[in-house]
Amino acid sequence: MRNIKAVFWKQIRDTLKNKTILIQFVMFPFMAFVMEQAVVMEEMPDHFFVNLFSSMYVGMAPLIVMSAILAEEKEDCTLKVLLMSDVKPIEYLTGTGGYVWSACMLGSCVLGLVGGYQGREFAAFLGIMAGGIAASLFVGAAIGTWSKNQMMATSIGVPVMMLFSFLPMLSMFNETVHKIAGIFYSEQVRILIDQMGQHGMEMKSFVVIFLNMAAALCCFVLAYRKCGLS
């Protein structure tokens, strides 16, 4: 537990000085706040921008941040030093993953507040975001573990991130994209958030998110077995 706390603490200190990572956490909550205040159109669904940006946030921030942190630590050999100081891989991943998940949940709280969710709706919103962020974290961890350096992580991470974060938006305008996007967790996050204020949420969405999470975890395990952490 001591090592997990140490890694978590290190990540907080580092993020405060790392604008690239910091911007990932605050960009969508800030954009959602601005757009909700600035754009008012007739027939626009309630919390349109919050709901849209929430699914994009889920598909982008945890994935990019987790892969970037892992790849940077590998490239700078800091991860090797940590592992040779009695920090076990699971402790490192828990500390880093826990930090990214917590930071993204903080951003989700802001999104929920901007969206005006309260009580059970707010809790449900956070619950959906928590599942989506966890799935995205595993994808990011798999990419970061697979990559030897930051350039490789960016090359793999950006297309994957675009797939997960932009499909929910594109699926609103195109039926074919909507059908394809349905197999991805970020789209299901958008559907679940949309369904929150209307009728009951579909079990299918939770199953898809869970299956995505399991697939991402498998990818991470494969990457870890092949490349390790150092």
Binding site: A6, K10, D14, D76, C77, T78, K80, V81, D86
Partner: protein, 279 residues
């Protein structure tokens, strides 16, 4: 403390280490000398368990190096050529992270920073330090948990003489605490000054092993006295009793400008053994 037996390391077809055998005793400073590409870093990686040898055995504190685990790493300090520092974190925070991991009191951080001469730069981000300062910070991290064994890969490479002196003093102070120090270097003066035993590594093979002074004596084939006189003459005398008379004459006449014996240093020994220098 550390024992290597017939260690072989191959990368594909290329054999980097060819049957290296060594023994390092507790509390000694051991220097592994060799030119770039000789296999020094590979050997230190094997001894610290970062690399599994293709053949042979490495024992550290009675345990196989390939099986080193967390609690054993806690008793070691390792400084590799890539320092592994968090560039955005300050010197203090870099050490604070490891103080948390080692369970060391945070009061120790300032003490260690002072030892390596970085106390005034404690708030400076590690990424903005000079190479020498980063090396010292990495060394501070390596000694913070008061290790039983210190592994240092080229600890003074690229440092100015003042910083090098400071590092040497720190290493000697660590040795006084009975810390075993395994260092690699291509600086023969450093090895002569610090190490109780050295091994000369060339193309993956140990070509000589022993105490630095003993090695130099062993290869003192010329055994001459070289004398320069004030009148410009240069003499070479055999270093034995036959030189006494001549020397006495010149000394009495006050003619000697310089006088040197011809014992070799580690670099000349290495050149004699391999036909190349320690660069």
């Amino acid at each position: 403390m550390i024992k290597l037996t017939d260690v072989v390391q191959c990368f594909g077809e290329h054999e980097v280490l060819r049957g290296v055998s060594l023994q390092i005793r507790k509390g000694e400073i051991f220097g592994l000398l060799g030119p770039s590409g000789a296999g020094k870093t590979t050997l230190i990686k094997i001894v610290t368990g970062q690399l599994k040898p293709s053949a042979g055995q490495v024992m550290v504190n009675g345990k196989n190096a390939a099986d080193l685990n967390g609690s054993m790493y806690l008793r070691m300090g390792i400084m590799m050529d890539s320092y592994g520092l968090y560039g955005r974190l300050s010197c203090y925070d870099n050490l604070r992270l490891f103080a948390k991991i080692y369970g060391t009191a945070e009061g120790k951080i300032d003490e260690v920073l002072k030892k390596v001469g970085l106390l005034e730069a404690k708030k400076c981000p590690a990424g903005k330090l000079s190479k020498g300062m980063r090396g010292r910070l990495a060394l501070a991290r390596a000694v913070m948990n008061e290790p039983e064994i210190l592994f240092l890969d080229e600890p003074t490479s690229g440092l100015d003489p003042a910083a090098t002196k400071q590092i040497h003093e720190l290493l000697l102070a660590e040795q006084e605490k009975n810390t075993t120090i395994f260092l690699t270097t291509h600086n023969m003066a450093e090895a002569e000054k610090l190490c109780s035993h050295v091994a000369l590594l060339n193309e993956g093979t140990i070509v000589e092993y022993g105490e630095p002074k003993e090695i130099c004596r062993k290869y003192n084939h010329q055994n001459q006295l070289q004398i320069r006189l004030y009148d410009g003459r240069y003499l070479e005398l055999k270093n034995d009793c036959r030189a006494v008379g001549t020397l006495q004459t010149y000394l009495e006449q006050g003619m000697i400008e310089t006088i040197h014996s011809t014992e070799p240093n580690l670099e000349t020994v290495f050149m004699e053994l391999t036909g190349k220098g320690l660069v």
